[in-house]
Amino acid sequence: MPSAKTTSLLPLEVSSLSYRVDQETLLDNIDLSVDSPGISVIMGANGAGKSLLLRIVHGLLEAHSGAIYWHGVAMAETLRRRQALVFQKPVLMRRSVAANIDFVLRPMGGQYRQRRDELLHQAGLQHKRNQPARLLSGGEQQKLALARALATEPEVLLLDEPCASIDSASTLQIENLLHDTRQRGVKIILVTHDIGQARRLADDVIFMHRGRILEHRPAASFFDSPSSPEGQAYLDGRIVV
């Protein structure tokens, strides 16, 4: 487990990153530097490119141009091993809830059963441990995916709307879990549409609009007075096109 000091994977440096499909530019010349520990929150309207950006910094998609460095090292599988990504749509294996966690714990060796029960307990899923994972409710599936990500003991945790279909009590529980994880020195990059959640968790905010990053500022200053009209409109809940 990483010690309380922050991960050595930072800073994350993204420079002139572009991603295109056919003729459409989905990510447009993105520059981003994340060097502070804690929780960075990515916000932006549907289709802004948030999920794409997460995939690309995690090395799952190859950008057409630009570079990604974690602590000065170009993105590679050895870096991905130290990170975990929870997808917007959880991908669970056709196995029991417990077996989904065991799948990542077993190769790490040691007494994995106890650790698995701990993780399931944290996620509030211990009573579902023997149930087929794909019969869980949508919110339970998201919790399981998060528990599995934590099982890998990542130094960087990338979360794509982890609370999208989660009730408010469980959201609170997950936010506490994320807070604890943050305290352990894990860097968290979180995509969310929940402005309240962003206010509660964010240390800094990255605001995206149509494949570009319009703002990247400390949370307080972003929520006080976003510098872009799109950011302001997003916070006001107005429609931006």
Binding site: H58, L60, V91, M93, R94, R95, P107, P132
Partner: protein
């Protein structure tokens, strides 16, 4: 030529009386075809998983080839195995021609492409779904393959049953390499062919009936496996 109704009556008494010859033929048939399916699964599942997971140039061509081999004519397989095992053939020294082992080899060759091709389809679909998650977790290829095989186990069982259905019902391959020798290599399909040509419809009918029951139970098993897999959301 016996009277038809008499043949039916005799067939019923053979089955209900647990006729020894009939039993021997059924047991050998099951032994040969089950062994062949087991071997074919041991080869076909990993092969299916490998072609589902790896992306290499020519992968599409291999998929087409595997699908084409699903339709191998049994007599052609029989002929090729016969040539390989006959005294002058490359494997003639093993003295396997006209033994149950020769029949197992022939049926394994017949069934392996079926199991490999069908299981590739099953696992390719699953791989498409799991791929990003597995890459995120940095799971090595070998482990991806075993995970796919395990997670598609219900579907793979139905694939194996399809292979068994093909093996137990084929006559062309086993008759060539087995020779339909009484008490040695006589299985249901070859016995039916022989007894019918001899006009001994009772035994042929009794065997035909057993074969039909087997085919029906295989289908029922496939159906209920699918249903329970769906219920558990494992399919």
């Amino acid at each position: 030529m016996q009277d038809f109704s008499e043949a039916f009556g005799l067939a019923a008494s053979l089955i209900l009386g647990f006729d020894a010859d009939l039993g021997e033929i059924i047991v050998l048939s099951l032994r040969v075809s089950l062994s062949a399916v087991l071997l074919a699964a041991l080869i076909g599942f990993p092969l299916g998983a490998l072609t589902a997971v790896l992306s290499f140039p020519g992968r599409q061509a291999i998929a087409v080839l595997m699908n084409a081999l699903m339709g191998l004519p049994p007599v052609v397989v029989g002929l090729l195995v016969y040539m390989a095992l006959s005294r002058a053939g490359p494997l003639g020294w093993m003295n396997l021609l006209y033994t149950p082992m020769a029949m197992i080899i022939a049926q394994t060759i017949l069934v392996t492409p079926i199991i490999a091709a069908l299981s590739r389809q099953v696992m390719e679909d699953m791989h498409r779904e799991y791929d990003e998650q597995f890459r995120s977790l940095c799971i090595p290829t070998r482990r991806v393959m075993t995970a796919l095989i395990w997670d598609s186990r219900y579907s793979l069982l139905t694939v194996a049953l399809a292979g068994f259905g093909r093996a137990i019902a084929e006559v062309g391959a086993v008759i060539i390499v087995g020779g339909n020798i009484d008490h040695l290599t006589r299985v249901m399909t070859t016995a039916i062919a022989l007894e019918t040509s001899k006009g001994n419809l009772a035994l042929a009918l009794a065997l035909g009936f057993v074969l039909l029951i087997l085919a029906l139970s295989v289908n029922a098993a496939v159906y209920s496996l699918r249903a329970s897999a769906k219920r558990l959301s494992y399919a």
